[in-house]
Symmetry: C2
Subunit: 220 residues, 2 copies
């Protein structure tokens, strides 16, 4: 019987990073890797890596390292990437289209099964072979097709009402690109990708670097 | 003389969120707001909000609340949003085009002054009135035009070599959308937007929610 895995949010955010590097290692036919080698690849400390990977069982053996394929497979299982998640995109602007055209999602278990918009000129078009439907049909479509994930790529003004429809249509999670903090029931996880917030953070770090280079004048 | 502001990374990530809400409040002609009112809007606790905003001076007064415009202006200054940053986009796929077409950046002090690609079929095109140039010209262009921020929207394989060129061209910061952890000098901040990592995290939370609803069977 499998133990229930409880992992902190910080580790959950690092798992996809490990996964990416392991994927590359598999492509390069690397079978084993030590935490020190992983450290020099990824940039996390070796002790951080051992601590993270110990969270969910002992894949590593002293003097042997990690079994790359085994670890990759286990991380996939923990991240739930061993099954399929149906997604819909609501909002067919540039970002919605960019996501629709990113065919890797289809291949990797995240098929986009529908796109929705309120603009009559766009409804009926096909983007990367996905039909754009009227947002009025969203709730029914979600329920009939047992959609797992709703992607919000509308503008800010529309985002909350779209989220309400996604909840009504019983999606299991929301991937939100609109720069709005959505209010949804706690049972439905929301992952925000607030792109412009990260630009603001970048600029802060640029400024801060500049300041660090200036001579300190009477710090308090 | 202004005191030097040192703020933790966590607070830096929250400042753009405060900024967005304050922008909305200004649009709605709200002049003052208490930490409790902000709390019910944003979802952070009132004490978190007071602690965050106390980091950079006393805008709030007991029984009066925060001056919305003053606080907004101050956050803009701290985030460095009171000046202009020239940006280039390297990689003109769907995501690069989506960013180029997002005209808000132009209006808000982030003009995109050039786009670059290696594909001869794309070089010479104009996207949202921005010329696509040959990536071979990137370093010279960056130096001649004193570009502040390089945006990487290439595939994984090309991302590191693009980052090297951005560094050579003396950009002040890199906004990286390629799913690669770049190696650049410490003096150049990198902000990663690893979109698919956030999808993986979302799926983990979906799975985890499901598990939480299952009856616990012999937890250790």
């Amino acid at each position: 019987m499998k133990e229930k895995v409880k992992i902190s949010n910080a580790v959950v955010k690092r798992l996809p990073i490990y996964r990416r590097y392991l994927e590359e290692l598999i492509k390069d036919n690397v079978e084993r890797i030590s935490s020190n080698e992983l450290s020099s690849l990824i940039g996390f400390t070796a002790s951080q890596i051992r601590q993270d990977l110990n969270n969910f069982g002992g894949f590593g053996q002293q003097g042997y390292g990690y079994n790359v394929k085994g670890l990759y497979k286990e991380i996939n299982t923990i991240l739930g990437l061993d099954r399929e998640y149906k997604m819909v995109i609501v909002g067919t602007g540039n970002l919605g289209q960019a996501l629709a055209n990113y065919s890797k999602y289809h291949k990797e278990g995240f098929p986009i099964v529908g796109m929705f918009d309120i603009n009559p000129k766009i409804i009926g078009l096909r983007i990367n072979d996905i039909e754009v439907m009227d947002s009025d049909l969203l709730v029914d479509f979600l329920r009939e097709n047992h959609v797992d994930i709703g992607i919000i790529t509308t503008d800010r003004a529309a985002a909350q009402s779209v989220a309400d429809k996604l909840v009504e249509g019983r999606v299991r999670g929301i991937w939100n690109f609109a720069t709005v903090d959505l209010k949804v029931p706690k049972s439905i996880p929301v992952e925000n990708v607030h792109v412009t917030d990260t630009l603001n953070a970048l600029v802060y770090h640029i400024i801060h670097n500049d300041q660090a280079e200036m001579p300190e004048a009477g710090t308090e």
